[in-house]
Symmetry: C2
Subunit: 154 residues, 2 copies
DNA sequence: TTAAATGCAAATCGTTTGCATCTGT
DNA sequence: ACAGATGCAAACGATTTGCATTTAA
């Protein structure tokens, strides 16, 4: 998701760290990188199978773990709009907020310098060294709020 | 968690909405309200049993659901520091960020007007009607960063 | 050559459900 | 009286694990 601003592709990044590259990993990585929406582990598995038909679910999870530990991808909950699964996206230089519409399910991304300022404030005032941030907002998108004012109630 | 700023107790809030009050619900609600740390469903169950020994796990989950739907409590992930469970806290008027230390596990709360400004900006610029927000930050707290500089590395 | 990665199947964790029974209003 | 709440046990979805086998470097 989000136009990739990374200098190196994930594959290169891993090679640079001397991490072993297998066909299965390559498949998962390609899929995450090319994805135009946020994918969960199941979707990642299905799409990776188009490249490497016998890849197993466990391998997908292990690859996700690897990329998470190396901090090359971010894990999202997207307000648990559909169960407890997680979604993944390549880490970009500019962090963004995810806005999840409870009515239509759409996910919008929003970035703002206020978010960057808030992070600096947290580091400075709380003396906290930030490694990951996750800001998710749930509510009604413009269209849904207009169509269905009930979405706004209580 | 967080000094309660609510005008009415949760019990009163429910009574006001004509919601049936049972001993089990009262127990869970008292526990959430008095808690000094963030509790998950298991912890809620254990403590509620001190008041109502035979309360069942399912009832705890159903009560959590009820309070969530009425938007009287917030659900937190706390960066999944310990598995995938959720934590709960009474909704307060002032929203805050949760800072989760990956090394010592401590959770700090942080509130800032920048957060409020960011939320207004989201409503205005994206036309998004905010119902819930969840901002969680993972990293190293001041003490851990000082003790163990490795915590800060890649 | 050999440490690391994979597939498979079974296990785990947190949570949800169906249903018969009980209880608040 | 009866809609709604409970306890129990079984089911669930997402993820993780152990272990024998294969593979990248």
């Amino acid at each position: 998701m989000t136009p990739a601003l990374e200098r190196r592709s994930l594959i290169e990044e891993l090679a640079g760290k001397g991490i072993r590259m297998t066909a299965q990993r390559r498949a998962v990585i390609e899929v995450i990188q090319e994805a135009k929406e946020h994918l969960d582990a199941e979707a990642l598995l299905e799409r990776a199978r188009e490249w490497h038909p016998h890849i197993d679910r466990a391998t997908v999870y292990r690859t996700i773990d690897l990329l998470k530990k190396l901090r090359l991808i971010d894990e999202l909950d997207l307000m648990h709009l559909e169960g407890e699964k997680h979604f993944y996206e390549v880490k970009t230089t500019r962090e963004h907020v995810h806005l999840a519409c409870f009515r239509c399910g759409r996910i919008q991304e929003f970035s703002s310098s206020l978010f960057e300022q808030l992070k600096s404030e947290i580091s400075e005032q709380a003396g906290f060294t930030i490694r990951v941030t996750r800001l998710e907002v749930g509510g009604a998108c413009r269209e849904c709020a207009a169509h269905d004012p009930a979405t706004l109630s209580p």
